[in-house]
Symmetry: C3
Subunit: 174 residues, 3 copies
């Protein structure tokens, strides 16, 4: 489970599955400069607490950037031969895009193009949300559909894909 | 990932996981005549759009049959040494059975018996729905229980089983 | 898939995934004395029916113990070089702890310590609940968070970990 110095790794997993910690571990085990690209906005106290907890775990050696919408722009600005960027996470980015009424297909296509052109390493983390009962809420169903399509695209564009459950990875590609 | 000319393959995955496209690919890579057995009924516009989209993706080389309830009869009628039938999907069939108040155990047993006697190839696609929080709705809980038991039976009767996430298969059996 | 005579095995899976039957099979295939440690309380008829069904499947060769809260105490009392204890399941135990307003972190830490010190074999079964849409209910979100952290801890302390879907295991560790 070594990170390539160039190309994208996709880490998919459930809520509290240890996927972020696993992704951080991949980057810390590399000799690259670690950049944390947070897409989450602290909408409430639950979220603020989680962000603070993640930040504390990572410690001082990480550079942290927050970008809720222009993920592609931030990736393009940050990427370099010596850096590994952790995107945490795609489902929060998708939530932000939907709230801002952005066109999801366009944004997804831009991300996939950027992944392929990246100079350094990028590890993208996302929540699998499609393995429960069909949600009664229409917005939740739309979100689930967008997330599933985004994950298929990202997995296809990534060189390596892991599924994480209970803190343990299953390698699905690469 | 080659399709056997005889016997059943089970493709289990989440919503928008790419499981139908993966199953289609298995059949298209074989030299067999492709039959699409749709169990879904267009209850609303969301569903109609999805059915139309799937049909367009498959193209003209597929024969399409629609059978919401008598899946076993349709399978027995279609199966032959030169055909590969894609059943898409078992959870929609289960929904139709529950709405029609059919006995689920009896129908499941009939399907498992038919799977074993099939002359040609069959690929059965279904949605895993048991990996979220326990649903508050009693009907949803019953559905989840029926689906889980159906999946265990189908996986036991199938020669090959894949779990698909983000468009990528994990081989679980075969 | 042989059970070691000493140490912990963790079996994680969805609702109706066949995880309990798989765990029972592991213990029955060993020559050890089988102990079933049920954490579930029959809150309603659905639950009573499920408990009765599980009990019937296991048959007479199992000793059954019920302990909704003091799982660690029961494990310490039961464990011996000749016994294999099946804990079914951790999510029900977590539900009971939350209802009794116990401190989840403390209880989790006690369990992990007990797992490492166990003399005989223990197989812990739990429900993955974090792969659906974020629940609207705050209590359900808290449950999902606790379950995810518990699963990460148990998987780290276990020698062997399986993920079960449709009755089929994927070995994740060991």
């Amino acid at each position: 489970m070594q990170l390539e110095r160039r190309g994208a790794t996709f880490v998919l997993g459930g809520a509290r599955s240890g996927k972020s910690a696993f992704a951080e571990g991949l980057i810390e085990a590399s000799a690259m400069d670690a950049v944390y690209l947070a897409t989450g906005r602290a909408w409430d106290n639950e979220m603020s607490a989680r962000i603070a907890q993640h930040k504390e775990r990572r410690g001082a050696k990480w550079t942290t950037i927050e970008e809720p919408l222009d993920l592609v722009g931030a990736l393009q600005k940050e990427c370099s031969d010596t850096k590994a960027v952790l995107v945490d996470c795609l489902t929060l980015w998708l939530t932000n895009l939907m709230m801002a009424e952005r066109d999801i297909e366009t944004e997804t296509a831009r991300l996939l193009a950027a992944m392929i052109e990246m100079k350094g390493a990028v590890v993208l983390v996302s929540n699998e949300v499609g393995l429960g009962i069909v949600p009664e809420n229409r917005m939740a169903r739309a979100f689930r559909d967008h997330a599933g399509r985004l994950h298929q695209g990202v997995a296809a564009a990534a060189a390596t894909v892991y599924f994480v459950a209970a803190g343990l990875p299953i390698k699905m590609k690469g």
